[in-house]
Symmetry: C2
Subunit: 273 residues, 2 copies
């Protein structure tokens, strides 16, 4: 496995692979890799000739009061995990953006609700970094986890709208044995916070399997939660992310909540009834 430390090194390597006619798969991450990330790599590995993983804590997608400065890092552990899965290139740039960088990519509509309402500018940062990363890596296919469900749908939309030549695949949300959705931010949780964090996945499970209409399931979910601040708990149309009015088509239950100072996400497919 090669470790590439600059945008130039990455784009040069990708261009060389393209000249050889090789297909390129790509997993964008912010590092501190867990089994969720590894599952994305494993899903893509057999589909492509060359597999790239990026680790970059993208300042553009953090608000001024968010956890950019203390986001957890483990470059050595990350590197070992990538090598074990058969990653060809680990792209870990110190600076991803060129001097005088002044371009942004914005997706309207999809980004205005849910996390977009609580993290102004977040999805513009995500859309911009993903577009640049897809260009640098020349990815034919990229995989993003369904844990960040709104992010996945935003990236799908920008790829379609800008006709970027990359296929976007959604990777299954991976949970710990106790049900907690895997996230690099789980490391922030104290033992007591972790117990209460489990109420997110319990609420998701209950809302997916329980009966009743949208309102009944939302009430059920809320009754289970033990969090410090609920940003949102909704059942939405998976494509538009607008609130679902009934359950006659497949929908998605989505949640964002703080436990202590840690903001956690979870979501689950709700089958049509």
């Amino acid at each position: 496995m090669d470790t590439l430390l600059s945008a130039e090194a990455m784009s040069g390597r990708a261009a060389a692979w393209k000249r050889e006619g090789l297909t390129i798969g790509f997993v964008p991450t912010m590092g501190f890799l867990h089994r969720g990330h590894v599952s994305l790599m494993e899903a893509l590995r057999p589909r492509v000739d060359r597999l790239v993983v990026s680790i970059y804590v993208n300042p553009l997608q953090f608000g001024p009061k968010e956890d950019l400065g203390r986001y957890p890092r483990d470059p050595e552990g990350d590197s070992q995990k990538c090598a074990a899965v058969g990653v060809d290139a680990l792209f870990m740039p110190e600076n991803l953006y060129p001097s005088g960088f002044s371009t942004s990519v914005e997706v309207s509509g999809l980004t205005e609700r849910l996390c977009g309402a609580f993290r102004p500018g977040h999805f513009e940062g995500v859309a911009t970094v993903c577009t640049r990363l897809f260009g640098l890596t020349r990815a034919d296919v990229a995989i993003l986890g369904e844990k960040d469900y709104q992010q996945l749908q935003v990236v799908r939309r920008l790829v379609r709208d800008l006709a970027l030549p990359v296929e976007i695949v959604g990777g299954e949300l991976i949970r710990d044995e106790d049900g907690l959705a895997l996230s690099s931010r789980n490391v922030y949780l104290s033992p007591d916070e972790r117990k209460r964090a489990l109420t997110l996945s319990k609420a998701m499970r209950a809302m997916a399997s329980g009966g009743g209409d949208v309102e009944a399931r939302l009430a059920l979910g809320r009754s289970i939660l033990d969090v410090d601040k609920l940003d949102y708990l909704e059942i939405v149309d998976p494509d538009t992310l607008q609130p679902a009015t009934d359950l006659s088509k497949p929908t998605r239950a989505v949640i964002a909540a703080f436990v202590g100072k840690t903001r956690l996400l979870d979501n689950v497919a709700v089958a049509a009834v």
Copy 2:
């Protein structure tokens, strides 16, 4: 030459060419082609295996009071000109954007002055359509005329910032025999307006060849102009488009002015003195 009428047809064709390992050149236009456009096609033709020209009057880059509805069109004449130059695919979509299109690309800084100050949203429309067109055509190299100098620099910047895998080439501004910079919009000019329109190229020529400092050359240019409304006349740094303070490095004289209801552009390189 094949004429492709939908985004799907274009992207399918480009993907097939890429699978064959062919290189693709691209000339984006709004049609009503003149010798300036043809010179761009001729410049790219020997460099690529397949040459694509797009004709699309992009609503995103027109303001509500601008000439979108009356922009001149000549699909049959355009098609003949493209075929004569050896274009492989003429991409003339009726609708370029998919249903629910909601993504935009914005370049800050470079777009705020000059035409950007007079045409709010214009360069966002240009940046967005170019990004989508580069994706659909899978262009390895694209050429844009230097007549729209700010546009060229904005597109160069977004390609660099987003790491789009396309090389941007600037094509020389082509003039009519009387010196008028070729533009599809010249067809709007009455005989009297055309005479006065020539004062733009006369001013450019005088500012490039005349002596004196920045202020002296600006005064010289202004003394030559006979226009109805001057949007701007400036001497700028070619990369930043900020006003030049001296002529010790190469600069660019740029102008936008209305003659009658027709907005005209011109520019010229000013050699370092």
